[in-house]
Structure formats: structure tokens, C-alpha cells
Amino acid sequence: MVKNQILIVDDSEINREMLRLILEDEYDIVEAGNGKEAIEIIEKGDHVFRLVLLDLVMPVMSGYEALQEFKNRGWHHNLPVIIISGDSTDEALSKAYDLGAADFFAKPYNPQIVLRRVTNVISSREYAYRDLLTGAYNRLGFLQMANNFLQKCEDRTKFAIMFFDLKNFKAINSLLGTEGGDAVLRQTFNGMVHAELEPIFISRFEADHFVCLVEKRKIDVAKLIQESNQTLEWNGHSMQFRFRTGICHIDNDSDVINFVDRAKLSLNYIDDEYLKPYAIFDDNMAQNYINAAAVTSEFETSMANEEFKVYYQPVMETATGKIASAEALIRWIHPERGFVRPDLFIPALEKDGFISKLDLFVDKKVNQVMQLWKEQGLVTVPVSINLSWMDFYDQDMIQNILDNVAQRITTPGSVRYEITESSFAALKENRGDVLKALREQGAWLLMDDFGSGYSSLGMLMNYKFDILKIDMSFVRQLEKNPDVKHIIKMIIDMCHLLGMKVVAEGAETETQVNILREDACDYIQGYYFSKPLPEEEFKQFLAKCKEEGKI
């Protein structure tokens, strides 16, 4: 671990050296001969000082002037100053405290007092950059230290960021209480401090996530696998907990936060949490890496530049092979990055509340296109629009949708909305009646991604849907796992009993389609019939269906 850094400012070398002698076992010391030099050193940014020891009477710039400058620059909030001076008059003390000094000691030095006061002042400010529960750095402290460290080292590519995700932390908290959870966090930190990995900096970055800066050569994946399973012995309980680890090698000069983000992102690429509970960020992931902040900052411009395109994926009737409807899907074609995956940009837009704008855009666009085609005498089918859970927190959005439905509805089901299980909580908290209002106006509601989450059946109990869409993960397993056929059959039968139709998503093979047909699944959506199509190709697809009588 790296020592905390202290800046000693005194015009006498003897005085500085004496302080150095007292402090250097526990702290990393930097010296300045006057206030001006001190400010230059701090401004240069090569150090992260936890304390300044400041003499008052100095040539060039006095301690008082330096304190005033610290205050002007706002440094006094994060950088405590202890005054060291031969003057301990009330006047001198009160002037120094008024200017923001944290403490004072007089010359000549008493080593015990110096060390004690220095330690006290530094630890009283630690909450700003340390996690008080574990003693690890917090997010701010880690980024500060790691950035500073990498700036100064000759070859930063020798280092890597490791992002540790504690897997069953919530379970531990609910079984053992927060005290048990705290014990896990402390044990984790202590384990890292003593690990052969010898991290340079360790942080509890957020709730149950730890981030370390390490030397690449010290990463031993065999050990990582072995140590990803841990046991907590606490108050007579024995509890297992696990880690997943994302690793990102530092390969450029950008801010450490970017490498932390990438290490975290690589967690998504861990296939088997037990056999290989880690992933190393690579070029393939890099292509998919979209900085969330960049997404939201570019969103308005991208909207204005029409980079967002609506694609249409046909939904076919299983029994006849005719087209029944389509789902509108948003695609982002970025001028530099090309095709951006929706699962990468949609969560970012949801976080920042932009998603409703995008949903409304899709809603309008689809309506315009279908309207135009009808006017041109072309065939159309009902197209369903996805609503995000965020939309239910936005009163204007809800009103907009209700107004649009009222205007557009021609026959029952000509307007359709898909919502997922994740909207369940939002609906409960906000306007649970909005779904009812939509249906009363004749719009159809589709329950999307059924089976991928936890609350599916509760959702069906509380709200009425017209169509249920079975999550593609089921269909994908259909040929591999014989149990899945029974699960799908059961879902279909249940839906029919509840008066709902069923769409199976993600069908890619003839075998899958045949099984779904045997099970009386009403509709199928998937690459077997068609991938999502841009507007013009979808128009041709519809025309072809009409020609072949498949509509």
C-alpha cells in the first residue's frame, strides 16, 4: 500500500528535515521553502496531499498569504493545513483558524505531539476519500490515487483494473442482517490487503463492488478461480459468498474511470460463474463499449440527425404461415460507431430519462408510415410499439400515448403496445389504471419477454393482456433441453385459458417452428421467418406476402 503524502512548507531546511525525520516512517514527505513554492507543487498535481504543514513567517509568500490562496482555490475543503510556527499568540492562532487552518503546533517540535496531531487531522478527514466501514478507498479516493499513480509511472500498460462483484450480497444481508453484510465487506477488504495479488490501491467502489489497481504480472487466474468462493464465519453462522471479476488492462492515457467501466462491463461476458468467474476486457467487448455519458450527451443531436431508425420484424401466424403483425424495433446507426446495439444504449437512455422521447418518436414514426402506406393503397399490419418502464413515471408521456390511441384506433388491436415485467413496479407506483384505459380504448397490450424475470405470474394476475410473448431464451433451448418443451406448452395452455394469444420469440430453425406448431402456439417471431427489416424492405415483405396470399 502507498503512504499518504504530506507537504511540509517552511523556509528553514533544518526545520523541514526535522519534521521529515519525525514523519517519514509513516508518511511520504514533500518539501517547499515558502507559500509560493507550495502552491506550485500542489497545482502541478503530481501528488495527492492529505495534509500541509505550514510555517507562518516565510519570505516570498507567508503562511497567512498561502492560506488565503488555498481558500481562494477552494482547496481548504479537502486539504487540511496544520500551522507550525514559533508564534503561538492568540492573535496568530485566531488569524490562522479564520483562514481555515485545522490545527496548530509551536516550535520547537515535540515529536510525539507532531505525529499524534498529524495522524488525528488526517484521519478526521478520511471520510472524504475512504470507506469508513472497511478502510478501503471510496470511489473518489480511488480514482484520485489511481489517476495520480498512473500519471507518474513510466509504463502504465504494466497495470490493470480489477472489478470484483460480490454475488450474493443481498442474500447475506437478508439472512444475517446488515451486520453480517458489513462483516462480509470487511472480510473482503482484509482478504485483498493480504492477497498475493498485492493491489496498489483497493477501493470499495460502490455498495458490493470492489475495485483494485494491480500489476498485471501479479494476476493469477487459477488463484482467482480458487478464491472466488469465500466463507464467512460470523456469530456461529457459516455463509458462502462468491465473486465475479472483470479485468481491464490499462492500455492508454485516459482517465482511470474508463478502465473501471470496462472492467465492470466485462462482467457481462462471464458465461459460467462457477468454472470461470472472470472475464478480461477485449477488443470484441471494446466494440460494444458505449460510454453511457456519451450516449445521453449525443442523444439530442442523434435524434435531430435522424440516426435512429425504426425497423420492423414480422410476426407470423403459426397455423397458416401468414403475416399477422409486426414489432417496431429501434436501431441506432451512428455515423462513426456504426450499428449500436440496443441493449447497450437503451439502459443508458432509461437511466437519464431520455427513453420516453425515443419511445414517443417510434410511436409517431410508425403511425406516420402506416398512415402513408394506407393512403398509397398499400397493405399494412398492426405494428406493436415497445414502452419502457420509465414511460410510466412520466405523466406527459402517458397522456401523449392515451391521446394518440384515441386518435388512431380504427379496429380493436390496430394499435398495440408491448411492456415488460420490469414495468410492473413502475405501474404499481404510478398509474396502474393506464393499462386499463388503453384497453378500454381498443388498444391491445402485449406482455413482452415473458419468463425472463421474476414477477411474470404476478403481472398476469394484476393486469389483463391480449397477447403474451414468450422470451426468446425458451425457444433457443427448445432443441437442447427436453424440459423446455413442457414449459412452453404449459405457458401456451395457460394463456389460452386466460383468453390470451401467444407469440414465441426467437425462432430460428424449422424444428423449433414445428414444435411450436404442435403446441398450438398462435404466432411466431424470429429469424426463421424474417430478421427485423428497415422500412423499405418491410414494405416489400408485405407486398410479397400479399402476392402470395399470406396476409
Partner: protein, 119 residues
């Protein structure tokens, strides 16, 4: 010449120096650093130039250094001059300055003698 003898010669407080610096080797190191210290030279220059502010600063620094080294006689002399200069209204009192100069020279001579006895 021993360190105790050195401190005796300059009217310093060896026990205080020991309390602060723990080891004799440190006391020797810091005491000898005084030979390269420019506090007195700065004081002399400021007094010669009749620069009141610089005189005060230099006397103040010398006072601090002497206190840390437990060079008691020099410390007291520098303290008296510092307090005379503190209001920063008058130039250095030459009587007080002469006492500082004498104490400084006593320290320098004794340190040189100590060094010579070691080599």
C-alpha cells in the same frame, strides 16, 4: 569533544535535544546542518540594509531553528530581537542584534571545533 560538551559550550539544552531527536546521531546531523543554514546570513543582510520586514522574518526563522536545535542562548537572543522587530515600525535594535550575532558566532565556532575533533 562530545555532543554534551558542545551543548554546554553554547549554552544549549542537550536533554531537550535528546527528547526531540532521540538519537545522538540525529542530534549531530541536525546540529551540523546549522553550519549551512542561511537564517543568520539573511538576518545580517536585512539588518545591514535596514529592511525592517526582512529583518523580522529572518529573526523569526532563526528563532525557530534555534528552538528546534535547543540552542537555548541563541534562541533567547533571537526571540528578543524578533519581539523588538514584530511591530515592524523600527529597524533592528543594534544592541539586541549584537547579542544574536555573538550567540551565532559562539555556535558556529563550537560546531567547527566539534567537527574538527571528529575528523
Amino acid at each position: 569533544m562530545t555532543l554534551q560538551e558542545l551543548y554546554l559550550k553554547i549554552n544549549g539544552n542537550f536533554a531537550e535535544a535528546q527528547g526531540r531527536l532521540m538519537k545522538d546521531s540525529f542530534i549531530e546531523k541536525f546540529a551540523l546542518m546549522y553550519l549551512k543554514d542561511d537564517s543568520f546570513i539573511n538576518l545580517q543582510a536585512a539588518v545591514d540594509a535596514e529592511n525592517i520586514a526582512d529583518s523580522f522574518r529572518a529573526a523569526h526563522t532563526l528563532k525557530g531553528v534555534a528552538a528546534n536545535l535547543a540552542f537555548t542562548e541563541l534562541q533567547l537572543a533571537a526571540t528578543n530581537l524578533t519581539e523588538q522587530l514584530r511591530p515592524q515600525t523600527e529597524t533592528a535594535n543594534m544592541e539586541l542584534y549584537t547579542i544574536v550575532k555573538a550567540a551565532h558566532e559562539k555556535v558556529v565556532n563550537a560546531l567547527n571545533e566539534y567537527s574538527a575533533s571528529k575528523s
